[in-house]
Amino acid sequence: MPSTTEHLVSPKKQQASEQQPNMEALDINVDFNNEKNVLCEKIIRDINAVFLKDADLSSFEIIQKETNCNKSPVVHVEHNLGLESWCAQHVYDHAHRTLISHRRQSLQQQMRTLQQQQQSDALAKYLNVALLINPDVTTFWHIRRQLVQKNRLSINKELQFSALVLSIKPKSNEAFAYRRWLYSFQSADAIDWPNEISICERSADRCACNYHAWSHRQWVLQNAPCLLQSELMRTEKFIRKHISDYSSYHYRQVVLSRAYELCFYMPSSGQTDDQTQLDDLRELFAHYDLRWSELSDEEAMVQLLLPDLNRSSISAQRLRSFLYCCNIAAHDMRLCVEQRALYGPRDCFELHRRASLKFIVEQCVRLMTGLANGVYLPQASATQSLEFQSQLRKFDYASHPFLSAVRRVESELGDKHQRWCNLHLHFGYEERRV
């Protein structure tokens, strides 16, 4: 594979390229005398034909085949495009050479190429092939951007192309970045966000710990808060299946704190819902030996979680969102324990349970102590975060009925867990020294 770190070629070859005679023909010079080049040109033309013919191309891949069987190496079945491996390197070399020779031209000449329909089409043809075989070349993505800016490539087609690149390389940061760049030309209302989520999900499913896919998804969530409810559902489904992919657990934690930040809760539709909606929280109370039969209504739960709360300083919505989000965290804590029973101990279960516990404890403390100065949302800056840490350190857990029960029961989970609680929640367990 050729080097993946192409750098933008500066126009230092200006004089040399200006001497080239065939200005009216293609700037992209192809030596048709060479048999190999002719073959590569043909393959690239075949691939381009598939692109033109099939508007719903969904995947690209390289098919392992070591020898040329005298058939076209371009396979197109049910919206899937395949290229046989024996020719991939030659085709890539050819496309790469052509594109680099384009970049070596003077800036004016490059611009001329981009502006003329025929030549920019030819350029796009090489770009398609080169990027599908090797999606890591920033220079090539850059030429695509130039073509989009000159209106030579349509945004919708480009979204489709980058999705195709993600089908062969689900971890392609370039492709995700390109999508974000394309969306900057569209208004947020016009964007098909659910489709974007499913692209992220597909990429994360194909490649575990896919940082680029999950951070792209965070970007989507940031721009489309309307997805919160479906994201809460989808992420649970995902973590149930991908039990050791912590990236997905982390994303769920992000969704949860975003939900709380935006004061999200599910409006209860009927009387039955009201009862079952906070069931996980009730069960959590039972787990902490708190008599849950007395805690059947919301009011009693608020009393337990936030005793002596000054109701006038907090909106009803904030309170509902608080209960709703804590309920989800409680649900996740139980889920982690159940998963552990089924699959055996795994770091992900342990870590996610801790993160959920931390969410509940921190939100309680934040509401109890932060209300006075109006800071009860997750901290935005580092200083706020430090400030909260010091508040957590000073917090008197013993005076709080729910948190003191949490502190008592959690201590049974072993030394390691105790140390974690001390470090992150300042539970102040006594350290046992050996």
């Binding site: 891949e61 098919i63 392992q64 079945v77 149930r240 299946k241 991908h242 992919d245």
Partner: protein, 199 residues
């Protein structure tokens, strides 16, 4: 990823194992790989059944896949190919359950000469879809508490199942069930020591 890929029922004859019924879910593989993967899964299943003694359970790990096999005393055998994260206990309970169902629906005299077409047993795809979530198996596992997990033999590669003197590479080359493309795939996959990194 917790996932089931393939389920198959074999009859273990004297010279070779006979495939009676099989089903697979290969959606998670890329389109052009599916044919090859399918061939390899049947190849591995057959090979393993032939090398598992009667009345024995084995779980064989190969890369990130796990092949759970149970050959009953009456030579009926079940193979389940799953991801290595799929709980082993559930996998074996499921194989037992499938073989029980199979015995109830297909009489034993059909086994030695049966083919995929002649055997009427259509529940495999239903099992495969339903047990993608191992929680589904909860009541099942409770029912069959007699499954003794300590009796399942664990092997770390397919090579470990082969008999003395046998080599997987040779078997792949000789196999008539594998296409040229699959053999080429095996060669490259072995070179790169991974099954999904091309180019």
């Amino acid at each position: 990823m917790v996932k089931l890929f393939a389920l198959s029922v074999f009859y273990k004859g004297e010279s070779e194992a006979r495939l009676l019924k099989t089903t697979s879910d290969l959606q998670s593989f890329s389109f052009f790989q599916r044919g090859t993967v399918n061939e390899f899964m049947s190849f591995a299943s057959k090979t393993i059944v032939e090398r598992t003694p009667q009345a024995l359970r084995q779980s064989i790990k190969q890369d990130t896949y796990m092949c759970h096999v149970y050959v009953r005393a009456d030579n009926l055998a079940g193979v389940l190919i799953a991801d290595h994260e799929y709980p082993q206990r559930v996998a074996h309970t499921l194989v037992t359950k499938i073989l029980d169902d199979f015995t109830a629906k297909v009489s034993a005299d059909q086994w030695p000469n049966g083919t995929e077409v002649s055997i009427a047993f259509d529940s495999l795809p239903i099992f495969l879809a339903r047990y993608q979530d191992p929680k589904e198996a909860d009541p099942l596992t409770k029912m069959q508490n007699d499954l003794d997990e300590t009796k399942i033999i664990l092997k770390n590669t397919i090579e470990a199942v082969l008999e003395r003197g046998e080599k997987l590479d040779d078997m792949v080359v000789k196999s008539e069930k594998l296409s040229m493309q699959s053999k080429a795939f095996y060669k490259t996959a072995k070179k790169t020591n991974s099954c999904c990194s091309f180019t």
